[in-house]
């Protein structure tokens, strides 16, 4: 039976509309105060117990502000390379007779946030937390991120209250650089947590103590933790009694918020919810600057390359092919694609860096020279060389891998390269990196695209070129290396004078650039956007930035 539609009243609908208007029109009292609020790219607050996770973003936000290390990076200049300077150690020297022993003189009068004194005992305790399995404070969860960054450190011994001896497994001039990754946590604060912890065994109690310490940590850094809400926010207050007067914070409070989604970070900045965002959405750069925010960027020691295979049958065995690929990438065009947010590399480190050296091979965009090299090597448009690159669609530090790789693919086509991609999940690609180009996981790829940090000589160069770093030992995925390179590495590792070490590293870098075991495509510039009320911002040529020296209107 068909029935007639009942009479229709619009009153309820109008009421709903009015209510909705009222709700949305109500002015939201979005608190605006002098606190510096930072949106990080991390999905969780990097660990706060002294050895942060989440890569160098962890060191940037929960390492350097809360803790200090024996040596540290100079973050005070934007126009010069960030170099190593004294931190909690005022000076250091290698033992003249036994080059595996180092003596570090500690800075006097430094206190942890809990009021306890920083001294040689604290250094020994912090070395043991990651290297001595029998120490009560040994924490397996901190071992990976720490021990891998100071691979030769073995023991620490107190000489006197302000002197400590560190021992390495072999003579290693890189140790002072590696030590920027060992942050000093307060043994007294940890002990308090240990005494209060529950657990059936000392190991269980230690685990519980570290968890409690992470929520209420004590370092010696310019900021101390005042509030920690897991996965949501970390609140820091200025440490007004900080030992370095130059870096005593001017900002009273800092709030750090994990926001992994670029658009969410951008909206939070534009909506006035935060004052600083890491890595703004690239397509929002114009809007951000139009709305009065400032974009900061600088060349970072963050290399975005193709690492090439030297395994048997690899198309990259001919040096002319490797150099041609380096000459054929239109980096200027790629920079435009990224809205200017990349630097054009001349090697693993930039010109002006103490390790740059004097490479004969100039990495630039020169299609004719590249085509000539390819012709000499026996390739042409009719007979292109086939290369396969293993890449990811996303990943930490990978910038924008798909458009960037596709751009490189198009560029290389004009120089007779037929590039294919094997796109795999980021964690898998990362895991495969250790297995090497000869492993089935490479799936026939002759190059791999994994960006890396070039802060210290081991991570920047040695692990990719030393024959001792062949898989599965380290990241020499492509099995590149020879006796000459190994000698240059050994020279650098055993040059204990800073200048001599830098000179040896410059020779190594020169050799690497000339031999081109990479296609250097881009250097990241670490873009971040800030409110104009944040002043005294220095973005150094580093992964890190110093919050302590900033001010706010």
């Amino acid at each position: 039976m068909k029935r007639a539609a009942p009479a229709l009243s619009l009153k309820p609908l109008a009421a709903c509309a009015a209510l909705a208007t009222l709700v949305f029109a109500a002015p939201a009292a979005l608190a605006q105060d002098k606190t510096l609020r930072i949106a990080m790219t991390a999905a969780d607050i990097p660990r706060t117990l002294g050895q942060p996770d989440q890569g160098f973003e962890g060191n940037r936000f929960t390492g350097i502000p809360i803790y200090d290390s024996l040596t540290q990076w100079d973050l005070s200049k934007a126009d010069a390379p960030s170099v190593l300077i004294p931190g909690l150690a005022a000076s250091w020297a290698v033992d003249a007779k036994d080059k595996t022993k180092w003596v570090f003189k500690l800075r006097p009068g430094v206190k942890f946030h809990d009021g306890s004194a920083f001294n040689a005992d604290a250094v020994v305790w912090n070395v043991q937390k990651v290297l001595d399995k029998d120490a009560p404070q040994f924490d397996p969860s901190q071992v990976g991120v720490t021990a891998s960054r100071m691979p030769t450190l073995r023991t620490a011994r107190k000489i006197d209250d302000l002197t400590v001896e560190l021992t390495t497994s072999e003579p290693d001039a890189f140790l002072p650089i590696n030590l920027t990754n060992l942050f000093m946590a307060s043994p007294a604060q940890w002990q308090k947590k240990f005494d209060a912890a529950a657990g059936a065994t000392p190991a269980d109690k230690a685990k519980a103590a570290w968890t409690a310490f992470a929520a209420d940590p004590a370092g010696t850094g310019p900021f101390k933790v005042t509030r920690f809400v897991a996965r949501e926010r970390l609140e820091l207050a200025a440490n007004k009694t900080y030992w370095d007067a130059r870096r005593t914070p001017k900002i009273d409070k800092v709030v750090m918020l994990p926001m992994p989604e670029a658009n969410a970070r951008t909206a939070a900045l534009l909506g006035g919810q935060v004052d600083w965002i890491e890595a703004p959405a690239p397509d929002a750069m114009a809007q951000i600057t139009q709305r009065g925010f400032k974009i900061y960027s600088n060349a970072q020691p963050h290399v975005w390359p193709w690492q090439l295979s030297f395994a048997e049958g690899s198309p990259w065995l001919d040096k002319r092919v490797r150099q041609a690929a380096n000459l054929c990438i239109d980096r200027g065009g790629m920079k435009q694609l990224l809205g200017g947010m990349m630097a054009e590399p001349k090697g693993t480190v930039p010109p002006g860096h103490p390790w740059f050296g004097k490479p004969g091979f100039d990495i630039k965009y020169d299609v004719k020279a590249a085509q000539a090299l390819m012709t000499q090597a026996g390739y042409s448009a009719a007979k292109p060389i086939k290369v396969k690159v293993q890449i990811s669609a996303s990943g930490s530090g990978q910038m924008q891998p798909l458009p960037m790789n596709e751009f490189a693919q198009q560029s290389l086509k004009q120089c007779f390269f037929d590039v294919q991609f094997d796109v795999i999940e980021w964690n898998t690609l990362f895991t495969n990196w250790r297995k090497g180009a000869k492993d089935p996981s490479a799936n026939g790829a002759s190059a791999v695209n994994i960006s890396f940090a070039a802060m210290d000589p081991f991570f920047a160069m040695v692990r990719f070129v030393s024959t001792k770093a062949f898989p599965p030992v380290s990241n020499n995925w492509g099995y590149y290396g020879n006796a000459e390179v190994d000698k240059l590495v050994a020279d650098a590792r055993t040059s204990f004078d800073d200048k001599a070490r830098d000179a040896a590293l410059a020779k190594l870098h020169t050799h690497i650039v000339d031999d081109a075991p990479f296609v250097w495509i881009a250097h990241d510039v670490g873009p971040r956007a800030m409110s104009a009320k944040v002043k005294n911002v220095v973005q150094p040529k580093s992964w890190f930035i110093d919050i302590a020296t900033m001010t706010m209107d």
């Binding site: 029935r3 539609a5 939201a28 991120v145 021990a147 685990k207 989604e261 919810q273 964690n427």
Partner: protein, 317 residues
């Protein structure tokens, strides 16, 4: 009735065991190293082996599964590899946040869905029906993460009326039901409500249309009942199905929305899962999936019970 309930509870047990097995195996089948969050790729082979042993990943899969289930039965879901915090604590905090969001979103979705559904069904064929149907179709069709981004652009970036992200002015641990906190909930809840709203509206519209064609409605009208009286009977008949759909929708929403919670940085289960997946934090991933799956099983059980109470014919069937 009791026998029916007992039968439903017994049916749930093998489902829970299956869920535990599947969620354990799935995360192990996925490629990548479970220690990737704490072990950089440049770590030495010795260090890798040492940590694998310390975390128990050197044991066989059946052994790992047995230990995991045994601990889970004792309420211990292990410790997050990345954060070193207890998984149970992490999951239940996130569940609380998602529950808050899901209940509000379901409520909005249910109210709007029923409103659109009843109106569209009751005024079938009119322009109101077409308008309400358009909203419900939009609700199920529009990608909600896209809608979330649009809402953020309009209400946060441009108008600056509502906050774009977070779960309160100082975190979710001091949540209060006041405007200072609710303004953080509004955008994600509205975004999350569009799918249940669409589904409930479409279901209710079809139900109402079907009920209105039935003879007892003709009888009610013949007895001289007012529109409201007929409407009341119609609502009572449509309620069990609408409730069942709402229960299922609440179950889906309790699972958290990875996309919505990530867009709004809402610290719920979706956000937690996103973090666990990207850090390949196996204990956290397994614990979260297990708890969510068990929630879903329990919720279905509750909906069944509720339906039986509303319509005793179901228990007799």
């Amino acid at each position: 009735m009791l026998a029916y309930l007992l039968r439903r509870v017994i049916y749930a047990v093998p489902i829970m065991i299956g869920v535990a097995l599947v969620c354990f195996l799935l995360v192990h089948i996925a490629p990548g190293d479970p220690l990737v969050s704490i072990l950089p790729p440049d770590a030495s082979a010795d260090l890798q082996a040492q940590l694998r042993e310390l975390y128990g990943f050197n044991r066989s899969l059946p052994e790992q599964f047995a230990m995991w289930v045994w601990r889970a039965l004792h309420g211990d879901l292990g410790v997050s590899i990345a954060s070193n915090r207890a998984v149970a604590g992490e999951v239940f905090t996130a569940v609380g946040n998602t529950l808050r969001l899901a209940v509000v979103a379901t409520f909005i979705g249910f109210v709007l869905g029923c409103l659109f559904g009843f109106v569209a069904g009751y005024f079938r064929g009119s322009w109101v029906d077409r308008l309400a149907s358009m909203f419900s179709v939009l609700g199920v069709s529009v990608p909600h993460y896209w809608l979330g981004m649009v809402m953020v652009i309009v209400f946060s970036s441009q108008l600056m009326w509502l906050p774009a992200t977070g779960a309160g002015p100082s975190g979710s641990d001091d949540w209060a039901w006041d405007w200072a906190h609710l303004q953080f909930l509004l955008l994600p809840a509205l975004t999350m409500s569009v799918i249940p709203m669409g589904i409930i509206a479409r279901t209710v519209r079809a139900l109402v249309a079907e009920i209105l064609e039935q003879e007892f409605i003709v009888g009610l009208r013949a007895k001289g009942l007012t529109h409201f009286g007929v409407f009341r009977h119609m609502v009572k008949n449509a309620a069990p199905t609408a409730l069942a759909v709402m229960g299922l929708q609440l179950g889906y929403l309790l699972g958290g929305s990875i996309l919505i919670e990530t867009v709004f940085s809402w610290p719920g289960t979706g956000f937690l899962l996103n973090s666990a997946i990207f850090q390949r934090d196996l204990p956290l991933l397994q614990g979260t999936i297990l708890v969510l799956a068990l929630f879903f099983v329990v919720l279905n059980l509750l909906v069944d019970v509720l339906q039986t109470l509303l319509d005793p014919r179901i228990a007799r069937a």
